[in-house]
Amino acid sequence: MTEQLLQYLAECIERGKVNQQAAYPPDLSGRPGASEVTRELLDNGTAPNHILARALMVGMERIGEKFGSGQAFIPDLLIASKAMYAAMDHLKPYFESGAAQHKGTIILGTVAGDRHDIGKNLLRMVMEGNGWKAVDLGTNVSAEQFLAALQEHPDSLVGLSALLTTTMLNMERITKAIKAQSPQTQIFVGGAPLSQAFNDKIGADGYFPSPQDLVAHLETS
């Protein structure tokens, strides 16, 4: 029974079935969604980490892979993220109480001058769905703000986002500022106009075209 519920929850995440009232996707109309199923699993004694690993991460990985290979698009990821956060609302108290463990922390932000948040939010959701803690600094974030967050969360990774071809240069400044103070901090970059060549040039630790690619890299490194 628990196994079936976990599988169904993974499907709810992948396809973006938020809760019972949600009309999307049409073929799951009237059935329980991520919120109800997560509650039911917790009530029948399933461990939060187990729910995260066996359902949320599975669903996020599937939609993330489809996104990476061009079979799913930003709206599909966004609706999946709504379902994931609906499930996370039930799991959060366990993580906050220390009853369940994160894999690590990532500090996220869209770089100074750039106010686009969609890419950054997508990364946050995929990371959280894969068991990471995200410290989200928002958009238009300066080097100083990243450094202050690093002081507070010293062993974190850093993720920099930019959409505009005109703000990419700020990525270089921020990367250099962080590396000057904290050379061991790993910095990852993402955004539509970026490339691996750009990453190498500015001295960051990796460019990934989709959030799932970064997660896969962290799993294997």
């Binding site: 061009g70 599909d76 270089e172 539509a192």
Partner: protein, 300 residues
């Protein structure tokens, strides 16, 4: 009688648009924290010098510095009450240097927010934002509009409708495409047939592809659009994917290589040809050469 803008396209002419505004403004002093549209009032001479340079390079159409001039985007700079002022000025500055027989296009980009139900921006509010911007640009004297760099088809069609219904002027509906696997799509997943259908229904007079990861993707988009619409097409690719050289952003396509690659795009049958990020007046001069040369070739 002098043929109108749309008549010239209907006669099969290819009109030359301009290159980038954002990257040119940066070359001339815009910092990444500055609001680009505020430059229309703070540094009108800089904005106007870009317009003039494009007309001098051979552009038939120059776009206004108003890409992010909608209420939603300007609110990020605390400038949401300046929509009318910034946009009207953008158009007036361009009209003041627009030679006879040339055109000024009002640039309208995305709000940057997501529409309901995925996001929080209501459809009607988005419509009102685009209408407000379009009316100000029309007051300033634009001849036509480019609704451009759109990724969500809902937002593109709302913008096209708002422009059309509030001004009645010709409007280009242009979206930004990428390759998803082997399929040409926006990052929202919109494919070419969907885009053509919905923007045509919304009232677009011209359909286009702009920005993105280079000439090749825009070429593919044009090749897919051409057989399924009788509307004129617009192609304005970036000069490739940006790179960093000596702490400056550079684009791989030189004016020469850009001209060479755009030959294939022009051959598809294009009404408006131009460039997006990373293309400057020199790229436009080369496109002028390409169009003129092409015209001579077909007259022979």
């Amino acid at each position: 009688m002098v043929p109108s803008f749309l008549e010239r396209l209907q006669q099969g002419q290819t009109l030359l648009s301009d290159g980038a505004m954002g990257t040119e403004l940066q070359k001339r002093g815009l910092n990444t924290d500055d609001c680009p549209e505020e430059f229309n009032l703070a540094h009108p001479e800089i904005v106007q010098s870009i317009y003039s340079d494009y007309f001098a390079a051979g552009s038939d159409i120059v776009e206004t510095n108003s890409f992010g001039g909608n209420r939603e985007r300007l609110s990020q700079y605390g400038k949401e009450t300046e929509v009318t002022l910034f946009n009207r000025k953008a158009a007036e500055l361009a009209r003041a240097v627009c030679p006879q027989g040339h055109f000024v296009a009002g640039s309208i980009g995305p709000t940057g927010a997501m529409l309901e139900p995925m996001g929080t921006l209501a459809i009607q509010i988005a419509y009102d934002f685009f209408k407000e911007q379009a009316e100000a640009l029309a007051e300033g004297g634009v001849h036509l509009f480019y609704v451009e760099t759109m990724m969500a088809v809902e937002e593109a069609e709302i913008a096209v409708r708002a422009v059309k219904e509030s001004t009645g002027l010709p409007v280009v509906g242009s979206m930004t495409f990428d390759l998803a696997g082997d399929s040409v799509r926006t990052s929202w997943g919109v494919d070419i047939p969907t885009m053509v259908q919905r923007l045509s229904d919304a009232g677009a007079d011209i359909l286009g592809a702009n920005c993105g990861n280079g000439v090749e993707v825009v070429l593919r988009a044009m090749q897919e659009m051409r057989p399924i619409t009788s509307l004129p097409l617009m192609a304005q690719p970036n000069a490739g994917l940006p790179e960093i050289k000596d702490s400056f952003i550079v684009y791989p396509e030189t004016p020469e290589s850009f001209e060479e690659k755009m030959k294939a795009v022009l051959a598809v049958g294009i009404g408006i040809l131009g460039g997006c990020c990373g293309s400057g007046p020199e790229h436009i001069r080369h496109l002028r050469h390409l169009i003129n040369h092409n015209k001579k070739g077909s007259d022979d």
